[in-house]
Symmetry: C2
Subunit: 218 residues, 2 copies
Amino acid sequence: MDIRILTVEEHILSSNEEEARKNKDRLNEHGICAINVMSSPGAGKTSLILGTISALKEKVRIAVIEGDIASTLDAEKVNQHGIPVIQINTAGSCHLDASIIKKALDNLPLNDLDLLIVENVGNLVCPAEFALGEHKKVMLLSAPEGHDKPYKYPLMFTIADVVLLNKVDLLPYIDFDTTGFRQAVSALNPKADLIEISCKTGDGLGKWFSWLETQMTK
Amino acid sequence: MDIRILTVEEHILSSNEEEARKNKDRLNEHGICAINVMSSPGAGKTSLILGTISALKEKVRIAVIEGDIASTLDAEKVNQHGIPVIQINTAGSCHLDASIIKKALDNLPLNDLDLLIVENVGNLVCPAEFALGEHKKVMLLSAPEGHDKPYKYPLMFTIADVVLLNKVDLLPYIDFDTTGFRQAVSALNPKADLIEISCKTGDGLGKWFSWLETQMTK
C-alpha cells in the first residue's frame, strides 16, 4: 500500500512578534543579553543552566526565567544559587510567549543583570514558533533522542543559533550517527554552531561557556 | 530571593471531544481497537510500533497512522512490513486531533482491521489534551528523560492507560530512580499499568504484547 500524506494548516499569531520586539528593546536598554533555551523534556536544560550559573556567576550577573507546565522543581534548584529566578507555570500551555516574558521582566531587577537565561517548556515543537525577545536561541538535543530528529522537527533546528548535543557520555551505549547528525543540522541551518557536551561529566561545557561569553560581548 | 509564580490561562476546544466520539463509534462498528501512542521526541514510539507489528501481524490485522511535523521516515519503516499506513504531516502543529484522524480513517480499509495504532507527534504536552477516538492511551517515557517527568508533565501521566518506561538498557549508565518514578506515576494515576521495556534488547516487550492483546479482547 502506498503511503498517503495529509497536510494540516496552522495559524501563528503575529502579535507575539511585536511584543517580543518590545522585550528585546527593553533588554537592550539595560545591556542584558537574553538566551532562550529549548529542548524536548529531559534533554538537560536545567542541568545546563545550573552548570552555566556555577561557572559564570562570579563574573556575570545572571537571572533565570523557568517555564514549566507545572511544579517549581527547576526554580528551586536555581534558587539555591542565590540568583533571581521567576517560575512561570503555564497551566498546560506548551510554550512560553513574549507576553509572559514581559510579566517576568516586570518582576526582575533589570538594572542589576548582564545575562538572562530563559528555560522554555520542554517541547521540540511549539517553542520554536514564538519569539520571546531573546538575543540567541539555544537548543539542546539529548543524544538518546536519536540522530534523525532534525528531519522530524526541522523548525527547531532551523531557528537555533547554537545546537548543543547533550549526554554524549551515553554515545557508547546507543546507536547515534554523530556524523549524520552534524550533516543534517548543517543542511538545515549552516550558520548554527554545534557543540557536543555532557552536563553529567562536564565534557564540552568549556566550549559552551566560551560561545555564551562571545554572544555577551556583541 | 523568593520564587515567584505566574500562571497562564489556556483554552481547550471541546468540539474535538465530539469528533473523537464519532471516530470511536466508527471504530467500534468495525470491531477495531485503537491505541494512541504518545511520548517526547525520540522516546521510542516508532521502535515500539515496529516491534509490535513484527510480533503480532501474523494473528492481528494492523494499520498505523503516523503523525509527524514533517518527513515520512516513520511511515516508510512501517510500510516495509506491508501493512496499511497513513502518514500525517501536521505542518508545524504539535499534536493530532480527532478531525485529522477522521480523514485518516476515510483512507483506511476499516473492514479488514483489528488494531489501529496511532503514533502521535513527539510531544509530552499537547497530545494529552486531544482525544482522537482511541480506546487506550499509551505513553512512553525514555529513561534518559529522567524520573522527575511525572511532576513536570502531569497531564500526560494522568490520562495514560499504560506507561511504558523505555530504554531500560541504559539504566546502568544514568541517574534514574525507578522506585521514585513508580511512586510518582502511581500517585498521579493509580490505575495506570507501568511496564519497563527496552525496544533495543526486547526486554519487557512480552508484557506489553500481553497488555495489548488483553485490551483487544475487551
